[in-house]
């Protein structure tokens, strides 16, 4: 017999009250996307600055057979660390994708298409949609990221501009 009281309870939590580990987030994201449903979560980390910032709410949508293009921001399963990474496609090599965080100096390397969980289709900051980074300009961002110009020149210049003026925000 279980001496503890029988008291079934349901707890309702908001995402920020229930931080998930990398593996937990990966497992939930795979399960939700596997049902053909987009997955929405709060991002952590600085590697996609300035287009995705720490605390932004990111929606990842299932690919549904649609091909990925250079410039798309994707969520993939980093197998060595069993966690989700959200970075940009900056090139292709056959069926593998060259992926890089916009705010990172170096690329992640070639990632197999089978590791891709979904495409980022929406970013929200303070309850408002972030427009820059997922539209037609994504191709140019990817080219600049691949050439190294984005990280070494344009991002520092953009950050200086934003800190002086208080905006515009990405």
């Amino acid at each position: 017999m279980n001496p503890r009281e029988f008291d079934p309870s349901l707890f309702v939590k908001r995402g920020e009250e229930h931080p998930l580990s990398g593996t937990g987030l990966l497992e939930l994201m795979q399960a939700v996307l596997g049902k053909g449903v987009p997955f929405r979560f709060q991002s952590k980390g600085l590697s996609m600055q300035p287009f995705i910032r720490e605390g932004d709410v990111v929606t990842v949508s299932p690919l549904r057979g649609a091909g990925l293009r250079v410039g798309d921001v994707v969520a993939y399963a980093a197998l060595e660390a069993e966690r989700v990474v959200v970075h940009r496609v900056i090139g292709r090599n056959g069926r593998d994708l060259l992926i890089k965080g916009d705010g990172n100096a170096g690329a992640d390397g070639l990632i197999a298409e089978t590791q891709i969980l979904g495409r980022v289709t929406r970013v929200e900051r303070d309850g408002r949609k972030v427009h820059l980074g997922l539209g037609p300009e994504r191709w140019l961002i990817a080219r600049l990221a691949r050439s190294g110009l984005l990280w070494s020149y344009l991002l520092p210049a953009w950050q200086r501009f934003c800190s002086r003026t208080g905006g515009p925000q990405a």
Binding site: K13, R14, L20, S21, L28, F41
Partner: protein
């Protein structure tokens, strides 16, 4: 509004939720408005809640679920039935369960 449930019916997790046991905790994500939204609301259950959830497979009536739990918990059958029924009503109200067509 209270959801309707009865002890002779069986229930099963809704297709509109994803439930996963993660790091020792059952996490349930509602697929509200077609989005799995861990930023908005997620649900977790305590140990006894998980004991009920794990038995809601669509083939056991709530009375059978309460009987099974009676073998594990030191609580009168009538009280177990009442608690199971109340818990299931709460899950139904949140659209986390649906009634199963077969018992």
């Amino acid at each position: 509004m209270e959801a309707k449930a009865d002890l002779d019916s069986a229930y099963v997790p809704s297709e509109d939720v994803v439930a996963r046991e993660i790091e020792g905790e059952l996490i349930i994500v509602p697929l509200a408005a077609g989005i799995g939204d861990v930023e908005d609301e997620i649900y977790t259950l305590n140990e006894t809640g998980r004991a009920i959830w794990g038995r809601l497979n669509g083939s056991k009536s709530l009375r059978q679920v309460a009987q099974e739990l009676g073998a594990e918990y030191d609580s009168p059958t009538e009280q177990l039935e009442k608690d199971v029924l109340g818990f299931v009503k709460e899950l139904l109200r949140r659209r986390m369960l649906v009634e199963s067509p077969r018992v």
